[in-house]
């Protein structure tokens, strides 16, 4: 990636502090106190709010009773991505937002941190909670080793089917490994979670892009069913002049670089402009700031109320000291004499204006993947971002699990 001039001078210690877990793990004491606060509701709103319908009161009660193994099993049984969801789920709008304590004018139970407490125990003790089912001899191909594909793979292995996962990248985990803000979820946890699933006997073939290296039709010949969870494509283009200047980078590339290199190796400008106002734009602007940018500013063509990001993400960016320019539609990216980025020209209600900057991060959403999938074939199933247009890990996990159930039902029927 093209880099602007190196301007940052944060120490490694400061960088480590800036990217430390934004929601650190609970101590044992704190987890017990929190677990005891849970009312143990029946038909609990938190469980209903969760796309994977984790039995939240049950797992919290098990933390309170000292049954951490059982607690983690309740979570991971229905959500193979319980580790990453505990760190990256938008719980404010899901389980914690639904907690009945909100209606008693109290803070909701810290469900995400309790989920982390229970699931960390599994990683720490290296517990194997699930086993592959009795071998059926049926073969399923899964395209994409992200949360949807691996969730599907996990449950198909529990049913005893042979599973091969094709992944274009060099590591499994999809956006969990490459795309979640570093202060929420680190790649080592994402990879440990992925490997926990792969250890059930999933064949993983890395560096293979279906459609490029192997034709999709071949999967239909070689396998009894195919699940497609390829996620979305690269960041959309702005379609304005100057987009190809050095110093202009798309958000996903920026975040992936940050997550796969030592922090100091990701260069950030002194004055950074992030174009877009979705959750990825927030991840980009906060991380640019945490890398040491003097200013990091969201530039958004519409108003504050129109921002697609979650409200709590907006609040986080404000706390991080990020700037916001609303109703400012980018017209072109301006270069200086040496051809580097010097500013973004925007149209506002008062006419044109140039926002000076030396780095532009584009975060206006991802396009679709080019993979052509025969949707009319009953043996083909889809899930995750490529099917839902881009949502959360928990949605991908829920869709992968649901697809595994459908695939298993189909394979059992054809089995006779």
């Amino acid at each position: 990636m093209q880099r602007p001039e190196r301007v940052r001078s944060l120490s490694d210690e400061q960088l480590a502090a800036n990217f430390a877990d934004i929601a650190p793990a609970l101590t044992n004491d704190a987890a017990l106190l929190e677990a005891d606060k849970c009312l143990f509701c029946h038909d609990a709103p938190c469980t209903i709010a969760c796309p994977t319908h984790i039995d939240v009161p049950a797992f919290i009660k098990k933390i309170a009773s000292g049954n951490l193994r059982g607690s983690a099993r309740v979570i991971l049984d229905v959500n193979p991505f319980g580790h990453s969801c505990a760190r990256a789920c938008p719980v404010e709008v899901l389980c914690e937002g639904a907690c009945v304590l909100n209606d008693r004018d109290e803070q909701p139970i810290r469900i995400a941190l309790l989920q982390r407490h229970a699931t960390d125990y599994v990683l720490e003790k290296k517990l194997k909670l699930f086993e592959p089912g009795k071998r059926t001899g049926k073969r399923v191909a899964i395209v994409g080793a992200g949360p949807a594909g691996l969730a599907c793979a996990r449950d198909l292995r529990r049913c005893g089917h042979d599973v091969t996962v094709f992944e274009a990248k060099t590591q499994p985990g999809g956006l969990n490994t490459y795309g979640i803000a570093e202060y929420k979820l680190k790649a080592d946890v994402a990879l440990a979670e992925a490997h926990d699933i792969l250890d059930l006997g999933v064949e993983l073939r890395l560096g293979i892009a279906i459609g490029r290296d192997i034709p999709f039709e071949k999967l239909l010949t070689d396998y009894d069913a195919v699940f497609v969870g390829v996620g979305l494509g690269s960041t959309k283009q702005l379609g304005i002049p100057g987009e190809d200047l050095p110093g202009v980078v798309d958000a996903l590339t920026f975040i992936e670089h940050l997550k796969t290199h030592p922090y100091r190796d990701t260069t950030v400008g002194r004055q950074v402009v992030v174009i877009g106002a979705g959750n990825t734009a927030i991840d980009a602007v906060t991380q640019a700031k945490r890398l040491g940018a003097a200013t990091a500013t969201i530039v958004y063509r519409r108003g504050e109320a129109d921002m697609p990001c979650y409200h709590y993400e907006y609040e986080l960016a404000k706390r991080d000291g990020c700037g916001f320019r609303f109703n400012a539609a980018p017209q072109r990216i301006i270069a200086n004499g040496s051809g580097a980025v010097a500013g973004v020209e925007v149209r506002t209600s008062n006419g044109s204006e140039t926002i000076p900057c030396d780095m532009v991060i584009v975060a206006i959403g991802q396009g679709e993947r080019g993979l052509v999938v025969p949707h009319d074939d009953p043996r083909v199933f889809t899930g995750g971002d490529c099917a839902n247009g881009g949502a959360e890990i928990v949605n991908a996990a829920a869709e992968g699990v649901a697809a595994a159930k459908k695939i298993n039902d189909m394979l059992e029927r054809t089995h006779g």
Binding site: T27, D29, A58, S65, N67, G70
Partner: protein, 435 residues
Amino acid sequence: MADLRTNFAGIQSPNPFWLASGPPTNTYGQVAKAFDQGWGGAVWKTIGEPIINVFSRYGSVDLGPTRMMGFNNIELITDRPTPENLKEIAEVKRNYPKHAVIASLMVESKREAWHEMVKQTQDTGADGIELNFGCPHGMSERGMGSAVGQVPDYTCQIVEWVKEVATIPVIVKLTPNVTDITYIARAAVKGGADALSLINTINSIVGVDLSTFEPQPSVAGKSSHGGYCGPAVKPIALHLVSAVAADPSVKIPVSGIGGIASWRDAAEFIVLGAGSLQVCTAVMHYGFRIVEDLIDGLSNWMDEGGHRTLADVRGRALPRVTKWEELDLNYHLLAHIDQDKCIKCELCWTACEDGAHQAIRRLERKNGGPVVEIIEEACVGCNLCAAVCPVQDCITMERVPNDYPPVTWKEYAAGKGRLAPRSEHFHTATWSKSR
């Protein structure tokens, strides 16, 4: 996966978790639902001449935000006709043949009345009979319940009558409202009981409304003492179960009852000798669903400890319950404060200074340094500071080794053995002078 199958005095159940006789076992619908959710057995709400209940029957003791830490009731036995109860027991047993279905009985103290009730009960196919000699309120005023269980002779007599006609195991449920429960337990054994269950509820008044002076639960402004239960009574129940289980003249299975709400509670009852477990209040609070974690947690604990069956753990802690005079006087402990964990609340200092042995020193608050430290020569290793400390593992009790062989009070009083030098109340002795 641990094997939780239970054989209690010949009564089989898939796991040791039974619903205790009480409101949750009042009807077919409740017991069937409980079995569907995993309960291993149920002791039907006590059958007898149907009673008339008062309105307002339960009182709760809340501890801070925790509801129903203690609970009491002035509800009586079943208010449903005997034929209806027996018909439903038969139906449950028919539909759930592998579960333990036990009928709790209470009738007037007449031989014929007991004979008749026992015979009718056996016709249902029930697996066992539990004699309610424990209910402390209402029924006792009519010469039943704890009025029987508080008198060894009555207990023995009625068990004998029941055993004259019983063809299924007879469990005698004991009241804790006695001076020494082992006397009653032995009387039940003498009468021929096949097993015991304990404890029934404890006499109690849970509180008084200070604006109206009405004791709770209030019935038109008045109340009556009721049976206390819930997590608060567990320590009393653990003691009484262990006392009965360890009694060499008892030697029959004991079903543990009293404040069981989690698998840990259950495990504690088992290692103190309980052969099955009965639960009521926790179900009244949270529903039948709690059985899932009771089973899961107990099973995971057994797996982690390498225990395959309940027999492997039953009574394992009993040999460690001894008389005070058999405890080692040369086992010395010293409190240790982990200063990195200390949050500087000084609760330990306050407790030790005012409530124990003045063995903690306060230091001036400066530069984030320690604010409390143990005065080792004064510490008697009593555990109070560790008990009040709000941080887990911040204050620990550390063994202080010495070269003196163990010596018990019994030995020492008989002139045997030597006492290791110990911290005494040197501080206490100078307390009035130094402060």
